[in-house]
Symmetry: C2
Subunit: 547 residues, 2 copies
């Protein structure tokens, strides 16, 4: 893993160059440039362009028409209008592969689900000031797509004119980390497919490349599994709260076309109580009371992981589900396994750790045999000595950012998902009933700026740091559903998107650019919240603490 | 002020009788009752029914058709279906005035803006189990409307049938407190009229009767004032961020028809920096730096309240604005007046308190001479000795619930709006820039249950308690606009709606009913959040802390 320092170029304070995430290298001028009414994106140099690239071009052209975003200054650009009208006009953006390209054209969708280490997301972009054609070059179709995303952030609107504010622009760009994710829990509360698709769009706009889909949990099992039809029939919140096989395929396809791999998670052996509604023989202590003794959340219940039958059932279930996902990664969870539930009901004579080791070996084995790399939460490495856990397993650090070094020392690649920086639900108060004094266990609220100060390799040696493959912000949904998805997630989840694309940034100067992200998302139909009064958003740094 | 204890009737645990706010007296049976397909609301006994009552009848009939809410049980009522099909059918609801009615029929809109102490909101309601006509009786049109609101909460849906679950129902009901409000700040960020109208609808569903409209503040002045056209031209965030005179009238009319009085607030003399954009001569220390020395929030700037010219200007401005509001109450604010800004720039020779007393007397005087009762924040009573403050002024307690007793002891009627229970924005993290460690000043987040434990007369003598006229939850909008209005407000703001209609309730048993509020709001297009995983919402009390 290489680590590069950020090139933060002068123009930030003008709130004009508002790219997010910041490119590896960016140079800008001071000229306006008008977008011609017949502006087009030229892909003629790409033989047999894949359909998803053509679709991305169409979407980009659409945003150039519909974003209609005024610059974030007090007059929203009105004072630019006369100069903009006199500015040179640009008619074309030319896409091409550069000399490093293999010659075989593959789709965004195929490249998006390649091995993390094999993905090629870099590109270079030029926007000349004189009106000659802009260019994006890359070694991959995915790289061209990332460049198009950047291109779409360069434009503002005044008096019916779309214009760039800082031509000429020259960019060379590629991500620091290969994994940049967002996690959504669709089990505590359900999200319609349309909400997930809109979220995928927003993710792609800030170059997030992994949708970590925490599909199921103790409260509901909303995924249709054709081989186990009862599991959603009895485990979803109702017939309209199920992701059908077609829905899942739709989500996978939509994501991939936007450069996003879907990382499915079926959390085992804990967080599985709802399976007792369809397969009671495989679940220990279902709805046992008091729930707090047997689980971290109601209802209690976890897979009987000491049972060979249950192990076989689980392996079969995971195999069925994973077969529908073309990506190379699959998470089996492994967090918060309850000892009381095991102790109270285990009759196998194995220790907890022995049983878990056997279970993990078997369930991971079936996934690995079909070509998957397994992903687990941190307890599987830090709390147990599981000889069956292959060392290519990817580990998600969630309990605390303090735990990452230990995971790395154990020799596992890791994703930074620490609750103390990246949990988007924290600060919303306790949700357990009859507990009026209850606050969030992970108080306080994680503001964008708190998240943005996260250092992916804090307190790590260079050797440990090499195991960090990226990170993600996460939404657990005990108190969220479609009505508050956008405002809880955006623009906050852009914080980690930049950290893991660009490397850690400067929290003192990032806010004006993040306002731009929020305002542009709003123009595109994503309900990002305002981070400040608009008075502040239009006056960079004037509302800073010591201003 | 009378205070009555709540009658909490047995059926709560079934999650079926889900009225919110709880009626004064409620008795329910155990029978299902079907709504006939030709169900109608009979107003024939009311001569010359006002149009707003007819409109309310139409809306109620609409909700009976479109709510289509399944009961909040695991099967959403499927197991009720066969019994429901065999249940008696009800065809009519008869509205009538009872014997106490004056005989003169007035509109909801007129009654809604009467003196707080004169409003008559009580009603009685019967829903017989045998299919004979239901009844609502009241001494006022406003009371009939409150009864219709209750009637609309009695119905669920299964298999294309709308049905009540606990017939017969008998209710007598009237509010404990006359003031039950919700405050929205439209100055830190702007809200389109449509969002305010939707909020008014949701307020009316839980019998909130006052929209406290914090219209303007230091960051923007979004109200068109025809006599002072520059004030919004220069002070709004832009031409599309202005409430025109027609918009204001629309909001007032829409609110009144739903039993809601609009309490406008023009905060003075602090929180007025933006007026410097149009009338710089009246604003001291505009955008002075560091802002934190001269104001609690950026930008600094407040009215030169020691100046006779500024006092006259302010009186004229308040008079112009207040003339557009038909209600009897008008808030002049008065919170967070900055001493440094006064000291640095005052040249009048008066003390701060003398100047404020003169300013208050003059500005309140012009409002009072046009028939308004003035409303102020607590500092105007607790921090200063203002001889000009008439003792019919209503005082809003906001800094802390601890301050209410002192306001009452000073002899002022008061509204409970304490930040430590009722501020909906708390817990969202700091919004000031370059302050990544910043949390909300009023952390933690105020959950519904925290708000619901508020006791309006805690630590008060009976004499002090008599000054409490009600309360409200409040949304300050530094980090809110249309995208997160509904989820921040609903269903949380229903907590105070019940406290001040029904009196303090039982936080241990309220949650299932509040889930019902949230689910029904969602059916009606208001983006209320889920308070728990749906698994819990469908299983009353099972997710309680000690369950």
């Amino acid at each position: 893993m290489t680590r590069r320092s950020l090139l933060i170029v002068s123009a930030l304070a003008s709130a004009a160059s508002a790219l997010w995430p910041l490119p590896t290298s960016l140079s800008t001028g001071e000229s306006f440039l008008r977008l011609a009414s017949d502006f087009s994106i030229d892909h003629s140099s790409i033989s047999n362009p894949p359909q998803d690239l053509l679709d991305a071009i169409t979407r980009t052209l659409g945003f150039l028409q519909t974003d209609q975003l005024g610059v974030l200054t007090v007059d929203r650009g009105a004072s630019n209008a006369s100069a903009v009208k006199a500015a040179p006009e640009i008619s074309s953006l030319k896409l091409s592969f550069d000399t490093g390209h293999s010659g075989t054209v593959t789709s965004i969708s195929d490249e998006a689900i390649d091995d993390l280490e094999s993905r090629v997301e870099g590109y270079s972009l030029t926007l000349p000031a004189d009106g000659s054609a802009a260019t994006i070059q890359a070694n991959s179709t995915l790289g061209l797509f990332r460049g198009l995303t950047t291109f779409g952030q360069l434009w503002y609107y005044v008096d019916n004119i779309t214009y760039a504010v800082e031509a000429p622009v020259e960019i060379t760009d590629s991500p620091v980390y290969p994994y940049r994710g967002f996690m959504l829990d669709t089990a505590r509360n359900f999200f319609p497919v349309s909400d997930i698709l809109r979220t995928l769009d927003a993710m792609s706009w800030v170059k997030i490349n992994t949708f970590h889909w925490h599909m199921v949990d103790s409260q509901s099992f909303p995924i249709e599994v054709p081989e186990f039809p009862l599991i959603s029939a009895n485990g979803a919140y109702g017939p309209t709260f199920v992701y059908s096989t077609a829905d899942v395929q739709n989500i996978i396809t939509y994501a991939a076309a936007r450069g996003i791999d879907v990382l499915p998670e079926v959390d085992t052996p804990g967080h599985t109580a709802i399976i007792s509604e369809s397969y009671p023989e495989h679940v220990a202590c279902p709805q046992a009371t008091p729930w707090a003794t047997y689980a971290n959340e109601p209802p209690a219940g976890q897979l009987r992981f000491a049972s060979a039958d249950t192990t076989n059932f689980t392996a079969s279930l995971l195999s069925s589900i994973s077969a529908r996902f073309p990506g190379k990664y699959f998470s089996t969870g492994g967090d918060e396994i309850n000892t009381e539930c095991y102790t109270a009901l285990n009759a196998s004579g194995q220790t907890f750790e022995q049983a878990l080791d056997t279970f993990t070996g078997a369930t991971h084995g079936v996934l690995q045999s079909s070509g998957k790399t397994t992903v687990v939460w941190e307890e599987m490495v830090l709390d147990f000595n599981l000889t069956s856990l292959r060392n290519d397993t990817i580990v998600m650090v969630w309990i605390s950012s303090e735990d990452a070094a230990a995971v790395a020392s154990a020799g596992f690649r890791l994703v930074q998902a620490p609750s103390n920086y990246f949990y988007l639900d924290c600060g919303g108060g306790g949700w357990v009933g009859d507990f009026p004094s209850g606050n969030s266990w992970c108080d306080p609220f994680k503001t964008w700026s708190n998240a943005y100060t996260f250092d992916p390799i804090a307190n790590m040696t260079a050797e440990q740091a090499a195991f960090v493959i990226g990170g993600e912000q996460l939404l657990w949904t005990e108190q969220s559903h479609a009505s508050n998805l956008d405002p809880i997630v955006w623009p906050r989840a852009a914080a980690s998107a930049e950290i893991f694309w660009s490397g850690p940034g400067d929290v003192d100067t990032a806010l004006p650019r993040l306002h731009d992200v929020a305002f542009r998302m709003a123009q595109r139909g994503v309900g990002a919240i305002p981070l400040q009064p608009m008075w502040c958003a239009l006056r960079p740094f004037v509302c800073d603490l010591l201003a």
